[in-house]
């Protein structure tokens, strides 16, 4: 699933205008369009399905209340992602750090992914890692990252958002995005060295 807004038939401005004109069904279309992407963004930040669900509902509620103030200076995609990022960061600051992760099961397509096969066998048939073991290790490694680093890893590595778009959403420079990615990857490499492809 790519999150590149340029690859979409983009009638967001029309839907936004209809919403601002008082047509709630237009906003429903935006919810349907963006909920999977925003779910991924929030889920990989919180590592908890229930928290993600509540937070995502709050994000769309806030967006619906604020859409009358949206002037189109950025794309709706960027604007909505900025709301989600800010609310997620605030949520993580308040959340009890003892909160348990509540991870979704990977779907069955993962078993056909060559990167998954390579990561779980790592060229050594005697050392096979179960799907859940891999998932837990990936999650633990992600949670070790700072929120800023986890954000760019989530958006770039998992969601496939371009550097330039990440920079707009986070309101930082592209150089800062690349720098954060560099340090985040280095930290992940230390945590996940056993899965590194040879």
């Amino acid at each position: 699933m790519t999150a590149d807004p340029e690859n979409q038939p983009n009638n967001d401005p029309e839907l936004v205008a209809r919403t601002q004109g008082g047509d709630p069904s237009a906003f429903d279309e935006l919810v349907v369009r963006y909920s999977p992407r925003l779910y991924g963004l929030i889920y990989h930040m919180t590592s908890n399905h229930e928290d993600t669900h509540d937070l995502l509902q709050d994000v769309f509620s806030k967006a619906y209340r604020s859409v009358s103030n949206f002037r189109g200076k950025s794309s709706f995609y960027t604007w909505l992602h900025s709301i989600a990022v800010n609310m997620t960061i605030n949520f993580l600051k308040k959340r009890n750090r003892r909160s348990h992760p509540s991870l979704n099961d990977p779907d069955s397509n993962i078993e056909n992914d060559p990167d998954y096969i390579a990561a779980t066998s790592n060229g050594d048939p005697t050392r096979e890692v179960s799907m859940h073991e891999l998932q837990n290790k990936l999650n633990a490694a992600m949670q070790k990252l700072s929120e800023d680093h986890r954000l760019v890893v989530t958006m770039f590595d998992i969601q496939g958002i371009h550097h330039s778009e990440i920079a707009k959403i986070l309101r930082i420079s592209e150089g800062t995005v690349r720098s954060r990615l560099f340090y985040a990857h280095r930290q992940l490499q230390n945590s996940l060295h056993e899965f590194k492809k040879k």
């Binding site: 699933m1 429903d28 919810v31 349907v32 909920s35 999977p36 779910y39 991924g40 889920y43 990989h44 399905h49 993600t52 669900h53 995502l56 509902q57 769309f60 509620s61 619906y64 991870l103 979704n104 099961d105 990977p106 779907d107 397509n109 993962i110 992914d113 990167d115 998954y116 390579a118 990561a119 891999l134 998932q135 990936l138 999650n139 992600m142 890893v153 770039f156 590595d157 998992i158 969601q159 690349r178 990615l181 560099f182 990857h185 992940l188 490499q189 996940l192 899965f195 590194k196 492809k197």
Partner: protein, 140 residues
């Protein structure tokens, strides 16, 4: 490039973690339900915000604007006048004595420009010697 970083391929596997099937179908229904609940049971913050908006909408803006502008002008004037180095020039007053007898013109004689003959000697102008054969005195 970050794209080629070995960790990119590993971390990308997390995209397979998906919510239960049918989750996004239910998500919109849940969104509508929460919106209705918010309308029926607004939060305290929402109530306060709505009350403030209602009060602000009832205020007559032009009257407030005039009053505000006047207040700003007064305050600005006071501030400017109280600044060191700014002094207002006082007009110089001359003492006036009211014991001085007023000058009246009632007792003055009217001025006449008619020259009496008796003053001829005082206002006489040297005259050239009379012409021969003309003995009559000149008068003004």
């Amino acid at each position: 490039m970050s794209d080629e970083h070995p960790m990119h391929r590993i971390i990308r596997l997390k995209r397979y973690e998906q919510p239960p099937e049918g989750y996004f179908d239910d998500f919109l229904r849940e969104f509508h339900r929460r919106q209705r609940a918010d309308l029926l049971n607004p939060s305290l913050g929402t109530l306060i915000l709505e009350r403030i908006q209602a009060v602000l909408s009832e205020i007559r803006v032009p009257a407030m604007a005039y009053a505000g502008a006047a207040a700003v002008a007064v305050v600005a004037s006071v501030v400017i006048l109280r600044q060191p180095g700014v002094s207002v020039a006082q007009p110089a007053f001359r003492e006036v004595s009211y014991t001085q007898r007023p000058i009246t013109i009632e007792n003055l004689q009217p001025v006449s420009f008619k020259v009496e003959p008796r003053f001829d000697s005082l206002y006489s102008v040297p005259t050239p010697p009379p012409a021969a054969g003309n003995d009559s005195p000149r008068s003004f």
